[in-house]
């Protein structure tokens, strides 16, 4: 066996602690599988006084990231600091100092991927990032290696475990979005500021990375619509279930003819589909290839040890030398891919829910607007309301499932519907995954 490989872990939060745990508690296993023993030379933290659950030799823990950059004996940097600044500059410096980099930072790759990847290629270094998308699910490996004989035709994925947990619990316990979110925050499943998760940004960042690997298409967050789960109501989850569907926050990238359809949004998924059956904090990626057909990958998309598992797999790939062979051939961040389809041209079925006045001609007004916009109705649910006791006009929920139409037509219709006095806010519109 050759000399030990020296690694630095930059960022000893939850995932960093998990990585250190695997490398120290299972050092023999890691050495056997990579052909080389792996030595944690430095672990960079922000606060040296904070107690850590892991016992590292004296001198390993440091708050000076420059000491890693300047140490010529460190071969690989595991960069687990969050955010983009100073993470971007740190990664550039690490690459320039001749180190290969393993990272779990999706925001950094989403925003600065092109620059970082180009720099790494220029310097003959590699960046490995399995842990940046879907945690413990080896989806980067699947897209860039296992599917190499295929043109990937679609990616449909649950990429945010927090949202999936909230949606699952809302339906299971007949609870409101707000109640489950508060509970998830108390349990540590959701951040104190949950915006990145519940507004869909986290899933969209991961979709940007997958989209570029699978379709060679460089996109940024502003190139496609992203909608979160924060405006969903329990009522919609229940009506969807009544219709035979589950509502999931889906990240979708798929080829339709010559163009690429891209979006992150809550969608109705038929309850027989593996995606619909993926509950709680799990992630799932449904990957279609022109040769292999549909495949599914599921597991924990976040969390200490699942993410650490992905980081260590990447590290092993770097130690073995595989990552260095893979990286130059990954057609990431190129821009030869298909054109992104304008959202208004996307075609699918829709679930619509309105609160309407319980009085004559309301349904006629709505169906007239849909009809004039060439939107055909597949089914309607309006449950009988209790008889009014006084003379007031009450609101009752009306649910309509449409046949296939375009997002453009639905938007036109919605704009007209917003003019009807008989419809009260909110007007809910959710697409169906076909």
């Amino acid at each position: 066996m050759t000399s030990p490989l020296n690694v630095a872990i930059i960022g000893m939060g939850t995932v960093g602690g998990g990585v250190a745990q695997i490398l120290t508690e299972h050092s023999e296993r890691c050495a056997r599988r990579s052909g080389r023993s792996i030595h944690i030379a430095k672990a960079v933290v922000r606060d040296l006084s904070k107690p850590r659950g892991i016992d590292l030799p004296d001198g390993v823990l440091t708050d000076d990231v420059q000491s890693v950059i300047d140490d010529p004996n460190i071969d690989v940097a595991i960069q687990l600091m969050g955010g983009t600044d100073p993470a971007r500059q740190v990664m550039l410096s690490l690459l320039e100092a001749g180190k290969d980099v393993v990272t779990a930072n999706k925001a950094l790759l989403c925003d600065h991927g092109p620059e970082l990847f180009e720099k790494a290629r220029e310097l003959g270094r590699c960046i490995a990032f399995e842990a940046a998308v879907a945690g413990g699910i080896p989806i980067i490996e699947a897209v860039s290696q296992s599917m190499s004989g295929n043109q990937i035709t679609s990616i449909q994925a649950i990429l945010n475990g927090t949202c999936n947990y909230i949606l699952t619990e809302m339906l299971k316990r007949s609870a409101s979005y707000g109640d489950i979110l508060s509970e998830a925050q108390e349990l540590g499943y959701a951040e104190a500021d949950p915006a990145m998760d519940v507004e869909g940004t986290d899933a969209a960042q991961k979709l940007v990375i997958l989209c570029q690997l699978a379709f060679g298409k460089r996109v940024s967050l502003s190139d496609f619509p992203t909608q979160g789960i924060d405006s969903l109501e329990l009522a919609d989850l229940k009506y969807a279930a009544e219709l035979g569907y589950r509502i999931k926050l889906l990240a979708v990238a798929q080829l339709v003819g010559d163009s690429l359809e891209l979006h992150v949004e809550p969608k109705l998924v038929h309850s027989d589909e593996p995606i619909a059956k993926t509950d709680g904090p799990l992630n799932i990626v449904a990957l279609n290839g022109d040769a292999v057909g549909p495949t599914w990958y599921a597991g924990a998309g976040a969390g200490k040890m699942p993410t650490a598992s992905a980081v260590v797999a990447d590290l092993m790939d770097v130690v073995i030398g595989r990552a260095q062979l893979t990286f130059p051939l990954m057609s990431v961040w190129g821009d030869t891919g298909p054109q992104v389809r304008p959202p208004e041209e996307i075609t699918r079925r829709y679930y619509l829910r309105f609160n309407v006045d319980d009085r004559p001609h309301v349904l006629a007004d709505i169906t007239d607007i849909l009809g004039r916009n060439e939107i055909s109705i597949a089914s309607v649910i309006q449950h009988e309301a209790p008889e009014a006791t006084g003379g007031e006009t009450r609101s009752v929920p009306l649910v309509i499932m449409t046949h296939t139409t375009t997002e453009g037509r639905i938007r036109m219709a919605d704009s007209e519907l917003s003019q009807l006095d008989s419809i009260k806010a909110p007007r809910i519109r959710l697409p169906v995954l076909d």
Copy 2:
């Protein structure tokens, strides 16, 4: 770009045709992703006069495998001939001639893996075999790369699509095993001689390969029990459904303490589990790792293009040079792994079905035998039978779900139960996946 890589396809059956199709129809894509253009130099067939669906240049098609072995310009052999003889000798000769080998032949690796792998290592060559297990699902990659930071703790898998199709259709259409098998044979989903599939041998061969990769444990088919689906009756599928389970043919390898539990058998799987929801010809592998937790991989486990997709991914790995790095480190065919647990020590719950005489004291006799063998009963189903019209004693089905017990105790009890006049054959005993 360097000079083209010359490959030979040995065996131009269904999968070979699919591989040739990807390499010829998508040659630009393959070249871009592997960094080198790939040229089919030879395609070996048994019968040169048989029409092929694929157009290969003159001189490529041959019935002489020796011409591949002897051609120093051929770098990689894609060996897709079935069976073990002459496949074993052909692979040895290819390796000796300095060629790397990609294969889908599970029977060959199951029976002669140790010899072939040792020879390849000795000669500095590699054997890639993603297509040998679970077709289009990249499970070899997952086990040997993505899980490299983990100790795999269990593999529970549907590895035979034919059996899964038959079980799915039986329950869906309330049809007998024989009827669905005949139909599957007519449709080409099952072989004219279905024994390898329906008796569980095909799944067991794949389990041998997975077990050695995941646990470093060399086993042969005779080291663990294998039972197929050929003795299952529709009644059992229906009772299982009534109890909230599906019956699936499962290949299982899992660590229990220091020992390895291994078997292929039909099992009751709770209907909420992803495995239970995997229907039709699909395969699924549930892989547990000590760091990543539970993960699932699903897709087509067989068929022309899904298997060809796996073969081409392997070929790309060889072209890129990754397979040559991975192969020496795969701890396959070693024998340092855990001891295989004697089947009689395996503990689980059981589903039991008897045809019993509809007369007094029968249930008492059965429960007495179970009780004396320390087998505790969790639930009983005995549906009311129509009143007998004559004086004859009729048989009625009795279904018992036990609490956790050992295979040894169940066998003892079964032996005693076989002595009871009041129980008619068959006595069905199926374990439950916990």
